[in-house]
Symmetry: none
Subunit: 205 residues, 4 copies
DNA sequence: TATGAATGAGTATTCATTCAT
DNA sequence: TATGAATGAATACTCATTCAT
């Protein structure tokens, strides 16, 4: 590897280290409650140093969010690819979104910020929004595909996606805020039952 | 009316005006993202002037939230009280939470802020959390009551509450962020179908 | 008494009440640490109300100080007037300044503020200074008078005043700040010994 | 000298410059009466800039006081160390405290602030108080040592310390406030006479 | 690349004072 | 007289960003 190549690689690793630090600090203090100084300190840098790696606080935020969405996509793909029966694949894809965020509360936090129309002043608005929509579509489309293969119409398949997405999101919110404890219920059990029921409906149509 | 009475009335109206202003500003920027200056300016005051009406920024925020929850409770009660058949009452109570927030997006914004991260950093305190839980319980308990009257076991009724709550929350999020448009679907239709299906399940048990 | 006279008398009593409150609050929080609001609250008033009785915060301060000096003068006079022997009178007048402030730590606090050239920006500077000097002279002059009657020259008498004044002031400072405890000594005993010694010196000259 | 060394040196000089500015401003207005803005402006800085050099206003104040006490100690030590006869040493140590503050009115101002009210509201804390007591003890203890060597009992020596300390403090107050002029007397002459008399007393015992 | 120092705008809150009622 | 509401300036402190070194 050339010297230049080495430098580039080192630079990339530093970026990643900073991004990882940022993820942790964000998850502890919330996006709005986190200062660049805090991220820098956690990463072992002075605030000014971060500006060699990221253009601004907002740009850093954006990159952290991007990484989170990438991880979501990868996770969902790997979840389905080993399965062969359509029913199994539908079940898996219906659960994958929920499961990823259940297991990665930091990303859930980041996701909620994204959802809330936050980051308005960032000025990266539209781009980011399109990327998010794409990521979501990629993450959720397997549900529709498999549902159609099990006999659902296109419309039915599409609504199944919405319903699963909404139910997962709602349960994650309940889980994340501890509100689910009020009801002595398990979020993941609720989600699994929901998806199972939906599959039964399609099969028994 | 006495002069003193007039004064008190004027004072109350000013308080309300400030609260209304605060509602809007808070709902746009959240607790941490909103400065007292912003609220004051929006209400036509100097920052210091607000301290004659509220002890602190947090106290103001708390009052805004309280009012929002009160409105939720009142709305839900009034929705059910005129109905007589258990099925109608179950249907109405299953929808009421969703409908209130669908029609009052500002309150939805406030609600989401409350949920986020369990308000850890805000320090609005245990009291507030208990009040919120109570308000939610009051708002949702009619679902369980009516379900049992239609033949559901206590456990089933309880899970119905969780499921409705989660589904409503998820759909509201999709609606609020415009994400539901991606799927060409109507949040309220999805919610109504969900509640209807659930009622059918109970009846056909 | 006329109606007008009654009104005036009531007004005067209210003034006194406020001044008394101010004294207490000052002594608890220090002059600089005390706000008009605090004085008002302690006196059962709103801040604005005080402006009917005093022109400004500084004017209120000034009056509190005046009262304190008046009390000092009265106390010193009453201390000496019953005594007949010159030696007794010299002893009493040498101690009176110290004793008053030992027994009235609030006034000591006020006094120190006065000394420290504080209140500079008040704009009542010169007047106040002259009044203070007069009060001090009145308070201390008996020492010189009696010393001369016991045989001291005018110069010796004058220096005796300075020395007693300085020693008293220093001991009061040590007493007030608790520093005297470091030495396991009693301020009043030190003062009494000092004055006694000085009297002996004069007599044995 | 290395580049880093240069930087450190520059930084230290800036700190000193700020401390010097702070010394002056604090001595004029006291801790509570002085704003960070005022110190910053006097030092040619923005308020925020001071936070790179000191953690808080109180920390800055504490450092200013520390420096003042250090100077007192050093001065007193150097005053005595060249003398050999016990009488000379006693005389010098009895005067040193007074002389230092007579020559350094700014430090006197700082000292008086420290004394006032025992710093109750300032909250500079126990540590600071202990340090102050230690500095005073170090500054005054030579008086006792030398007195004992001249034949005084431990008790007598201890009381001599209190008496000298009090007399010096009182004279400094009179000097500092200009009150001494009222009596046409010289503070330093009064102090010297006082110490001389005390030494005579011990020798003639 | 990275730092340390600096800025300028921002934060919530307090204060002396004013004034309509 | 007295109040309650209001102002405008002040308070200590924080933050994102910049830049010489």
């Amino acid at each position: 590897m050339t010297i230049k190549g080495k430098r580039v690689k080192i630079a990339e690793e530093k970026r990643k280290m900073i991004l990882t630090s940022a993820r942790e600090v964000f998850s502890e203090n919330g996006l709005e409650g986190t200062s660049l100084r805090a991220v820098a300190a956690h990463a072992g840098y002075t605030p000014g140093a971060l500006y060699f790696h990221f253009d601004s606080k907002e740009a850093l935020y954006a990159e952290v969010l991007n990484l989170s969405l990438q991880r979501l996509e990868e996770r969902i793909k790997s979840e389905i690819e080993t399965l062969t029966s359509h029913e199994e694949r539908l079940y898996a894809s219906g659960l994958a979104f929920f499961t990823f965020y259940e297991e990665n509360p930091i990303d859930l936090d980041l996701g909620f910020y994204l959802f809330r129309g936050g980051m308005k002043p960032a000025g990266l608005g539209r781009e980011r929004d399109i990327a998010l929509n794409q990521a979501l579509e990629d993450a959720l489309s397997p549900i529709a595909e498999e549902a159609e293969k099990l006999g659902a119409t296109e419309t039915e398949a599409n609504l199944l996606v919405v319903d699963c997405f909404a139910h997962a999101t709602g349960l994650l919110l309940l889980l994340h805020t501890g509100r689910i404890r009020m009801f002595n219920a398990s979020a993941s059990v609720r989600m699994k039952e929901y998806v199972s029921e939906k599959i039964e409906q399609i099969k028994n149509k």
